[in-house]
Amino acid sequence: MLKTYLKEQKRKKDILLMTHIVIGYPDFEQSLNIVETMVNAGVDMMELQIPFSEPIADGPVILKANQKALENGASVRECIEFAKQVSSRFDIPILFMTYYNILFKYGIERFARVMAENGLKGAIVPDLPPEESADYLKAMSDYNLAPIFIYAPTTSEQRMKYINEFAQGFIYCVARKGVTGAETSFASQLESYLSRCREATDLPLAVGFGVKSKKDVDYLKGKADIAVIGSQTIRLADQQGMAGVEDFIRGLR
């Protein structure tokens, strides 16, 4: 189980790292190089985003990557093939991240089955709240996959408990309002939010949106279990290539 695995890993490290890539950006070959670089640099888990034409929760960096991947013709079939390669080559949990329409059009049961067959461990679907999730939850549970749900600073305590009834694996805590990729100030406000999250669930807590330096990761130690780095590694890969990504990740802990 993902939750148990993450708790075991967490006993060995102050904090775990999860990184994010958009599959097929800038192309499939380089996507694979980026994954390899990240795994070698020590990340503990990865989310692979299947590009979607309407990524409303994503900011400019990830939005552009989605568009570019689609312009290059990335199909859902190729993304699944890619995920299969990744999960067979690397020994860390691999998740899918995508928007609900991708699952819906593929067939939710079929999507879950294919995830399980190809060694994926769970999925993050940011536009699918638990209220709309009945089919998804059933399929994920049938194939022993973790449906990852999201907490936000605007989520009430009562709603956090409600979401916790459906969540598996870990909870993805969005650090602030807004979309991916913008600045986050890691300050005292975040501390009280994270302690509310901690009280609502005994699942590991991942914190994402705006994490982009060792200082941010240090701040999260003791307050969360997993730091999520999204837009920043995409920016670095664009600007400095693989060496830049590798140095950055090695420098985070």
């Binding site: 309407e54 990524p55 329409n101 059009k105 593929y106 536009d127 936000a152 600073p153 969005v174």
Partner: protein, 408 residues
Amino acid sequence: MDNRGYYSQFGGAFLPEILAATFDELEKMFEDVKNDPGFWQAYEEIMSSYSCRPTPLTFAGNLTDHFGGAKIYIKREDLNHTGAHKANNVMGQGLLVQRMGKKRVIAETGAGQHGVATATMAARFGFDCTIYMGEVDVERQRPNVFWMERLGAAVCPVKDGTRILKDAINEAFRDWVSNMDTTHYVLGTACGPSPFPEMVTYFQSVIGTEARAQILKVEGQLPARVYACVGGGSNAMGLFSGFLDDPVELVGVEAGGKGLNSGKHASRLCAEDASIGVAQGYKTYFLQNSDGQMRETHSIAAGLDYVGVSPILSDLKESGKARFEAATDTEVVEALSLTIQKEGVIPALESAHAFVQAFKEAPQLSKDDIIIINQSGRGDKDIFTVADAFDDPGWKAFITRKAKQYNA
């Protein structure tokens, strides 16, 4: 949110968690308002003193004679302040924003009519205002951009995706997830996550309520059919709302663009290349490929150039309670031209789609039958597009002279 806003299988609220609390608040506020007769009174008061409600129902005698069939009436939403039905929705949501105590409004716009209406409302109520508009639409509806800016709105051209209406909606959501404490998103059509489809329909229902009373007053009989163009579906839902329980055929007309088999159209309810999906927070028919990626759409009318459609209309289509047709760009320009010449009214390119289908069917109906066409907006905003469609030499010469003056 307790009410997920489903119309059989269509609708729902597929929201990022960050917006859940905002939608709870909006849903509650809308419930309060529906149960408060004072609110509707205030709404009617502002619509009659600031806009032009009730809008007239005009008998189109010359068109009726021309086609020799059903009596043709035109519901004049073009006579609203800012020139389209969009004002009905915007002023309603504006009153809601006042109640919520928010100070800033944002909106998407395609044709620019919803943007202008929102900017007007913001000026009147003293709100800050930002309008998102696809780069392609900024070019084709430039007069409306000018007026939005004069009205004090910041107009942000959207350069991502297909650079039209759907992309403007995505950007408006991205703004909203950052600023929901101070900001309300005035969605312009009967689409998006619940409660927007119901709420926009609620405010637009004045169109149908008035039209029904007006036709009974002058003719003492209900229309056989009513026609409205369908972009997101708000003017159609507004008109249809008045006749849902009557033996009246409801006809929605989508953008057939260059033809339903051309791949260049925006017809979600008539075309083979549409299927059910979930995007922009709701479930409906979308123009998408088999992976679920949205397709490019095309229409001569920016306001109809959209990948999705109201979940309420998808439901009316599946239950057979409404019929949907498509009009091509060429047919639209012809119908527009005929209407201008015969009746001296200038429909928007969007509205002209409804006229196309009504003109096809009027001759087949009897002289005792009545039809109503919703003229959702006026055509002034389309001056550049229509001048190009007619290849108007005088207009071209004028623009050339004007450009020379600016370059001098």
